[in-house]
Symmetry: none
């Protein structure tokens, strides 16, 4: 009977080193032995007393481990037949090969001027932590429980004031819904609309269009020109429930929506009962004059305002906000209340404190200066060393558009990549449903690089641009 133990002990080399003490080590060793097949199903284990004596450990430790492994199903114990390895199929071996995720970490370029991310090295860590301390210290206990789908009332209250003051938004806290980023807001709105089509700008982000179609809606492109989206054409489109626009700074072409186009958009929504979804992703960064107020200020019943902390603070926060027309509040909250889509309360409380203490305004003022300086450096460098390259979209935001000779966009991007510089072409943002566009250009984010490498990134960009002779 205890013969089986002789074999057991000799062959298994139970290794009782490792973290968590003897009990944990014994559990690991026994699980490993069963898993690997060294302990076959049906094998009888030594009594806890024998094993303890042999290993020189307390019997209780072994008995406890056995009980645990019986409870977990590794072992079975029946009165009269001792403790045995459970009769069940062994798990199949898992490949040791390390998984590679499609995260796109091929080879990191030295300089990145592709649009979409602000200068994350400038995140105000100290000020944020100070706000977190004040917010968490004073928060009521219930703030640590389950929250509602609309988000923390502290944040919605402060945001309503801030958006009215800074963006001319007509907001009240009850119509604000906090989201984990613009994409979540767009997904909720698309689902709330339910059916029909959503007009999108003919230049925009493919993953925004994908969110809409995943919700079961169609998309239809609205042409974009030097005055922004041609909103007058909305009236000619069938079955359009809403239009997604970037009025402050069209993404990616960089033009603000012309006042007549703003009016046309709102008029269309009023006439049809449709909605304008106003993506105000970087409306806080305007350099030449006061920012244009949000379109939503024109008609809070037909415009959904969508703002975000992703450009003004950091994408990592996953915090954004929607200001909804009254009739969308219930449907959107009903969808968001399904629980898959809640945001953490601690960052919400911290952002509320960050806003109300004035730290947000201070941070924005600093970032506006920083980005403006970079924009000026870009424009000056182009005027100096590549005067043939036309630059546009520079009045606001974190990116500019550099026109290229026809047919050269892809080869320039490819050549830049070999030099360690990541660039993005305008064609990447063209909606394939829109008529073919022949405009070649680069969408250059001067916002992304950290300060210390911006000058070098700019140098690399200038080297990648076509020489003046070829640029006529």
């Amino acid at each position: 009977m205890e013969n089986s133990w002789a074999t057991f002990g000799r062959d298994l080399h139970l290794d009782l080193t490792g973290p968590g003490g003897l009990r944990a080590a014994l559990l690991r060793a026994l699980r490993d032995a069963v898993r690997s097949g060294r302990l076959a199903p049906g094998t009888r284990l030594p009594s806890s007393r024998s094993l303890a004596a042999d290993l020189g450990i307390a019997r209780n430790t072994v008995a406890d481990a056995y009980a645990e492994l019986v409870a977990e199903g590794w072992l079975s114990a029946r009165q009269g037949s001792g403790t045995r390895v459970a009769q069940r199929a062994l798990p199949r071996a898992t490949p040791a090969a390390r998984r590679t995720h499609p995260a796109g970490h091929a080879e990191r370029p030295r300089f990145d001027l592709t649009p979409g991310t602000p200068d994350v090295s400038a995140f105000p860590r100290t000020a944020w932590l100070a706000a977190a301390r004040r917010a968490l210290t004073t928060a009521p206990s219930e703030a640590f429980g389950y929250g509602g789908p609309s988000g923390r009332p502290e944040l919605r209250t402060v945001l309503a004031d801030y958006l009215a003051r800074a963006r001319g938004v007509r907001a009240d806290p009850d119509r604000i819904v906090i989201c984990a980023g613009f994409m979540q807001g767009l997904a909720l709105l698309s689902r709330a609309l339910g059916t029909g089509r959503l007009a999108v700008e003919s230049y925009g982000l493919d993953f925004h269009r994908a969110v809409i179609t995943r919700a079961g809606l169609g998309t239809v492109p609205l042409p974009v020109d030097e005055r922004g989206a041609r909103t007058g054409e909305l009236a000619t489109l069938d079955d359009v429930r809403a239009a997604l626009l970037t009025p402050a700074h069209q993404f990616p072409t960089g033009v603000p929506l012309h006042p007549e186009r703003r009016a046309a958009a709102v008029n269309w929504a009023r006439a049809t009962g449709g909605f304008i979804l106003e993506d105000d992703y970087d409306g806080e960064f305007r350099y030449d004059r006061q920012p244009v107020g949000a379109l939503q200020g024109l008609d809070a019943d037909h415009v959904v305002y969508l703002g975000t902390a992703s450009k003004s603070l950091a994408p990592a926060l996953r915090l954004s906000w929607m200001v909804l027309p009254d009739r969308l509040v219930d449907p959107v909250l009903a969808l968001k209340g399904t629980g898959e889509w809640q945001s953490g309360a601690l960052d919400q409380l911290t952002l509320a404190e960050f806003l109300s203490s004035g730290a947000y305004d201070r941070h924005l003022r600093g970032m506006r200066l920083r980005y403006r300086r970079r924009r000026d450096q870009l424009v000056a460098a182009l005027a100096d060393r590549a005067p043939h390259v036309h630059v546009s979209g520079i009045a606001a935001g974190l990116h500019a558009v550099l026109e290229l000779p026809s047919g050269t966009e892809q080869s320039i991007i490819q050549a830049a990549r070999w030099q360690g510089l990541a660039l993005e072409g305008l064609s990447r943002f063209h909606d394939p449903l829109a008529p073919l566009a022949s405009r070649d250009a680069l969408v250059v984010s001067y916002g992304t690089p950290p300060d210390h490498s911006f000058a070098s990134a700019l140098d690399a960009l200038l080297r990648a641009l076509p020489p003046g002779e070829a640029g006529r």
Copy 2:
């Protein structure tokens, strides 16, 4: 249209007294109205604005309550057709007591022993802030940018170690996906499974079942008895792709899954190529001996482990984790990567630091002592003052089950409410698809109240229980 509201308001006498604030009271009142049939399927509810105005409460409170009830399947909401009572079979008729509406002289209850939320007053604010400071100070800049769908690598690495040590989970960081709570994980898994049915425990949470059905899967109840879910019956069910189980501490009945049932679950998954979804919501709270290891340790290829910070730290964090079998990693990340479903990085970094510094272990040890003391108080008080009331499910977790004389559950809950005590009955958690259950019991959360009010809450509970003479 708003006429229906006139009727609604006049006839329903919504009673907004009760514990947990107005929102909780409104939820209860509306659920009661649907349950009793006073609100018939298809009935259109007033807009949140109208109801709020009429009740004299904040609109957001009503909108939140509507959203919650849509999530739970009581109501449905479609843009353009408003919020309506869902078209579905009503839960079985409840005793007359349920329909007897409180006469309006009820005092506002002061104690909440309904399950689901830990003692949020015990959130370790200071230790958390210290971890946040260390984490944010040392984080690389890229941590403030857009993150991947699997979550911060710092957190996944620390979790893999922690889960192996504390829960016997076979985890490696590449198979861990961070989510914004269990519900998001369940939604992603349901969508990844795609079609077929998901077996659920016949006692469980209605909003979990709703997440599954929203993903397009059916649910089929698995009976629960004193040894947990009858997993042996999985083999008799058709078209079941996965089974959602609470092995460590069945919710709500409180029993651990019997070792044979654990083995049967894994054997079924292996034989059919199905999955066990292991909801380990409170596995860290075990009082009588070391925690039973996770089922996932038996077979990491067929068991998905789902853990959460909602019970161990706070629901407000919206942080949970899944350990996936290899073949589910790509489908789940593909769904999560669509952008609506990203979690903030700052809390992830902070939790990683909180875990690796030992603060999490310290917090758990403290909470385990605190909850254990309360459980002991509950058990001792019952033994002393209500020895006829059988209590079970006390070896682990934050709640216990108190058996009641047949047919008394609803009247006791109602009477308790009048005495200022919120209680939840077992029948609330019974899957309506399962055969009629006649078990009357209370699901009492000794975890929820703050320390200072626990003794009084216990007193109130004892006063609400039936006297011994009636309890035979």
